[in-house]
Amino acid sequence: MPDSTAVGKLKRSYLLHYIDASFGGETPNWFLIGKDIEDMSVELNPDTSTKKNILDETVTDDNGYEPSISADTYYANTGDTIYSKIKDIAMNRLTGDDCKTKVLEVVIDKKGDNVEYDAWMEDCIVKPQSYGGAQGGVNIPFNINFDGNRKQGTVTITDKVPTFTPAA
């Protein structure tokens, strides 16, 4: 019997990435990224190496992942909760913990009322890559480098505001 809560083929908008605009505040202020971005992926950057032993067998060392996201378009907008921090990092050349916040990944693969979506939260470093850009708006593209402390859990979304609950 088909699962009535499954959504079938996931639209791109069913994979959501938020970053915490409070940058270390007690209560996360999730900002949804992706506006004006036509193509955005989590690059897992798997780190593996292969070598051959004396038996001519190939052995692979798996050193894990170095995931990151490139948000290649962010038009500066004073109405965005993330704007003041992105401006601060870019213009004051902030580094280290001043760039540290959390990233929340949500997969919308269920439908129905009061659905709890699978979600993962992880520390991350937000690094603006440049500022300026072409006519039309001030573009401040930034990278999000995942920084460990990954937690799996669930998210409920009410009035476009996600609430993360870590798995027990």
């Binding site: 639209k11 791109r12 908008s13 994979l15 959501l16 949804l32 992706g34 506006k35 004006d36 971005i37 036509e38 193509d39 955005m40 919308i108 979304i157 476009k160």
Partner: protein, 145 residues
């Protein structure tokens, strides 16, 4: 207001347009008619927000007895074009999708080909018709998430 109503409202704010019809022109000097010619999707971001484009032709009837009239006519179209291209300032635009009303913003208006289009009666004693092609870019925000 949808994008057609938004552009209609923009044109009616122009001081020298007092009468503006939709898909219709009266053949009399000072009459304007706005003709929507279609809407298309320009791009969609990963969240489902859309950037769309709607095109229009504005037909304007003017008197054209002599060169002075015709210079004024082309001058008015030039003035209107430059005024319209400075008009867009994120005014709210709505789009009815089924039972949902989505909101967005007017982001840009550009114009082209402001020129004499037709001499309806075949002589210059009555009104002649000019055209101005108008392109309005606007965004529509996704209803999801």
């Amino acid at each position: 207001m949808n994008i057609i109503e938004t552009v209609q409202a923009a044109l009616l704010e122009f001081p020298q347009i007092n009468s503006l019809h939709i898909d219709y022109n009266e053949n009399a000097p000072g009459e304007f008619g706005l003709y929507p010619t279609g809407d298309k999707l320009i791009k969609e971001d990963v969240l489902g927000n859309q950037e769309r484009q709607h095109t229009f032709i504005l037909y304007a009837d003017f008197q054209s007895f002599n060169d002075y009239d015709r210079l004024c006519n082309s001058g008015l179209l030039l003035e209107l074009q430059q005024w319209l291209e400075r008009y867009a300032d994120n005014q709210e635009v709505t789009a009815a999708i089924g039972e949902n009303e989505l909101t967005g913003k007017l982001t840009k208006i550009t114009c082209a080909n402001g020129m004499l289009f037709n001499i309806p009666d075949g002589n210059l004693n009555t009104a002649v018709r000019y055209q101005l092609q108008i392109t309005a870019n606007y965004s529509i925000e996704s209803e999801e998430f």
